[in-house]
């Protein structure tokens, strides 16, 4: 029985191509290796704002730690402590106790105002330099929120 014409052509083609494919198999394997998806997810590109966020979170934690013992002295100080906690959550910062540089208890309002003003200035500097526009907006807003409380503290 004569095999169908197409089958004979296919068989002939295979005879010609098989040695070629075998000869090229090294190169094909290389190409496949290059195209193969990595077995693990490649690392995300580094966040250019990561250091800024960490620095802001640390600065907030330090001021919070310094003023927390005086939260009972004036409602606005308690409000500032709560504000800093809310801002740390907004930054998704890992909780840390912060390093408290103690305040002089005879000059609490003035010292709280000075620390908060310095903190707002630091946050503002980071907002100006932020790569992510939404981070810039968030930091600017955080600085403005501190400004609202320090205005109350002054009044």
């Amino acid at each position: 029985m004569t095999p169908p014409r197409a089958s004979r052509r296919t068989a002939l083609g295979a005879l010609v191509l098989l040695p070629l494919l075998t000869a090229c198999s090294g190169r094909v394997d290389d190409a496949v290796d290059r195209l193969r998806a990595p077995e693990t997810t490649p690392p995300a590109p580094p966040n250019p704002d990561a250091a800024a966020v960490a620095a802001v979170a640390r600065a907030i934690e330090d001021v919070r730690a310094a003023i927390s013992p005086y939260a009972g002295s004036q409602p606005v100080v308690a409000d500032l402590v709560a504000l800093h906690e809310a801002h740390l959550r907004a930054l998704a910062a890992t909780p840390s106790p912060g390093t408290a540089a103690p305040l002089d208890k005879d000059q609490v309002p003035g010292q709280v105002r000075a620390r908060e003003t310095a903190l707002a200035r630091r946050i503002t500097t980071r907002a100006v330099a932020a790569h992510d526009p939404e981070l810039a907006r968030l930091l600017a807003s955080m600085a403005a929120a501190i400004g609202q409380r320090t205005a109350e503290l002054a009044g």
Partner: protein, 141 residues
């Protein structure tokens, strides 16, 4: 919405024209006193901001920066001090959100200025009965 810095500056200038008009109208309805003083401060701020934005757009070579409309629709309830105060507060809260947008859409000195405007406006909100918020200038919606 275009996100170019120049488009953001143009949008901010258009808003300032409206704010200047509104605060002038609010002042004209207010007797001398603490509220009138606060309105005067807000009016001066928005007028100065408007001029800075117009200058900045000119510096950028904007051939036709937005001008003021002949008139703007005023909110209702301006026949009482409470109504005037409420309108002023809404205007400042709206302006603060606008400055927040400007912060996000600009860089460098334009962003620096927008941050300062946001901070000033957030404090001025308090003179119109606003309460301190966690994130002023960020639209909660």
């Amino acid at each position: 919405m275009s996100t170019s810095p120049q488009a953001a500056l143009r949008a901010a200038l258009a808003s300032e024209h409206g704010a200047v008009y509104l605060f002038a109208a609010l002042r004209s309805r207010t007797a001398p006193g603490a509220l009138a003083d606060a309105l005067r401060t807000a009016y001066d701020f928005h007028r100065a901001t408007r001029d800075l934005l117009a200058d900045r757009l000119a510096e950028l070579g904007d051939p036709a920066p937005p001008g003021a409309a002949p008139a703007y629709t005023l909110p209702g309830g301006l026949d009482t001090a409470a109504g005037v105060t409420a309108a002023a507060l809404v205007a400042e809260q709206t302006a603060a959100i606008g400055y927040g947008d400007l912060v996000a859409r600009t860089t460098g000195s334009d962003r620096s200025r927008a941050i300062a405007w946001l901070a000033d406006t957030a404090v001025r909100e308090l003179s119109f009965g606003g309460r301190p918020t966690t994130l002023p200038g960020i639209d909660p919606k």
